[in-house]
Symmetry: C2
Subunit: 144 residues, 2 copies
């Protein structure tokens, strides 16, 4: 009954989704960007500016990782730093014009991805899948 390969399936779905995103970005002319960079950009699409710590929390990565990721995004000209006026420790990250221009591409890829993820499922099944995943995810939180 409980075959126990859900985790294996989860891992493979995640990897395929990652590869899909990377390939789509390349096809659309965006090179050198991996999903974690995309996660940061997506956060910035829906807010003016965020601190490094905030970004780290939102994309579920550590601060050193975000430092590296942001450096690359700066290098590519997609985001820029802005020192806080009130707290000299704080650095804000915000999109550049070039960064904003990526939004339609990301929207497109996101749409395609959802098409793959939910395309063959009924609305009921989609809700069921997310509900089940949510319960498993919560179970981890209370167990660990």
């Amino acid at each position: 009954m409980k075959q126990g390969n859900a985790l294996s399936l989860i891992s493979r779905i995640r990897e395929k989704a990652t590869k899909f995103i990377v390939r789509e970005l390349e096809v659309q002319g965006v090179k050198g960007i991996v999903p974690s960079h995309g996660d940061i950009l997506v956060v910035l699409f829906y807010g003016e500016k965020f601190t490094m710590r905030e970004l780290a929390e939102k994309i579920h990565r550590t601060k050193p990782t975000v430092t590296v990721l942001v450096e690359k995004l700066i290098q590519y000209g997609f985001v820029e730093r802005e020192k806080s006026q009130t707290d000299n420790r704080v650095t804000y990250i915000k999109l550049t014009k070039k960064g904003f221009e990526l939004k339609p591409i990301f929207d497109d890829i996101s749409g395609k991805l959802n098409g793959i993820l939910y395309g063959d499922l009924t609305d009921e099944e989609s809700v069921s899948l997310e509900s089940l995943l949510n319960r498993v995810n919560s179970k981890f939180d209370i167990t660990i």
Copy 2:
């Protein structure tokens, strides 16, 4: 309806599972082993010996990655190489006695993990979850 956060949930479940495995291994005195090493060991628990290429296929990693992983497992004394007699290109990897001794630990962790993954789900829900994940996974295969 289709909220579209299944992928996010999938990523988080996978990361929590990974952390859980690593921590459990450490608790049981097995250090420096990450899930990919574990994947190789698990393959070896259920077969006498495998080539590098076979291991790579089974754990869904590339050959260079498996080279690195196996080197570490050899270093820890859990596996050993065995040159093929019939084909000088081929190297077989097999468990050492010390490697075999890890099996009960892995079985235990696997049990605990399944407890977290399926513990709060009915049999029906477990089957449903795996079925839905299977369909999403297959959809990726035919789409990409």
